[in-house]
């Protein structure tokens, strides 16, 4: 296995960052781990992936991985995927910038997001903001933001 091993505390200890990442993946149907924020992406790949999601007019939550290197280490250990951004839909890794872009162009991404099936009576799951601890509601953008602090706050 060549997956990146996080620098871990002894395995008997709890891992709050990993728990927070797993909780964020479970709680947000469409979740993007990225460098920077949707408003201010810090990397061209993250920027392009945000642009694709916005082009589909789909709401999504985002986690900035930059504030703490452990977020990226733990994320890559969970997802077995080495690069950022990473898009999760319904708890599953869809891919990074290349795959997301390719799937957008082929129409598969809209399908994966349930945008087409919504018209056929499959209701899109709602994400009540109060159900997501630490989420910052964003007034201007469609994207909701999981603040890096919310991940860090769970450390305590």
């Amino acid at each position: 296995m060549n997956s990146i091993s996080p620098i871990t505390a002894p395995s008997t200890e709890t891992n709050p960052i990993r728990d927070a990442i797993e909780a964020a993946i479970a709680e947000n149907r469409v979740l993007l781990f990225m460098k920077g924020t949707p408003e201010t992406p810090a990397c061209g790949f993250s920027r392009r992936t945000v642009a694709v999601l916005q082009a589909l007019d789909t709401p999504f939550a985002a986690v900035d991985i930059l504030p703490d290197p452990r977020i990226r280490q733990e994320l890559s250990a969970i997802s077995n995927w080495p690069t950022i951004p990473q898009l999760f839909v319904a708890g599953e890794l869809v891919g990074g910038c290349d795959i997301v872009t390719e799937m957008y162009e082929s129409g598969e991404l809209a399908q994966a997001l349930g945008i087409e099936s919504a018209a056929e009576g499959t209701p899109a799951p709602h994400m009540p903001e109060e159900s997501i601890g630490g989420l910052l509601a964003d007034s201007g953008m469609r994207a909701k933001r999981v603040s890096p602090e919310s991940v860090e706050n769970r450390l305590g």
Partner: protein, 75 residues
Amino acid sequence: MPTPEELKQRIEAAIPGAHAEVEDYTGGGDHFRATVTAQAFAGRSRIEQHRLVYDVFGAEIGGPIHALSLKTEVG
């Protein structure tokens, strides 16, 4: 500093029957774009195809190889 030729050779050596085209698209020796064609991709999802290529480089991805943009095809 890795070169496109080195990346190409490592991908082709690690994935049997693979053909890779690699370019350094910034000229800085750390941002690469690769198109990889391999029979080994058959029956695998895009995620799994890309993982096969990423696994060639392990922890170098995100380190010396800052970015490796991938396109994979069954061939």
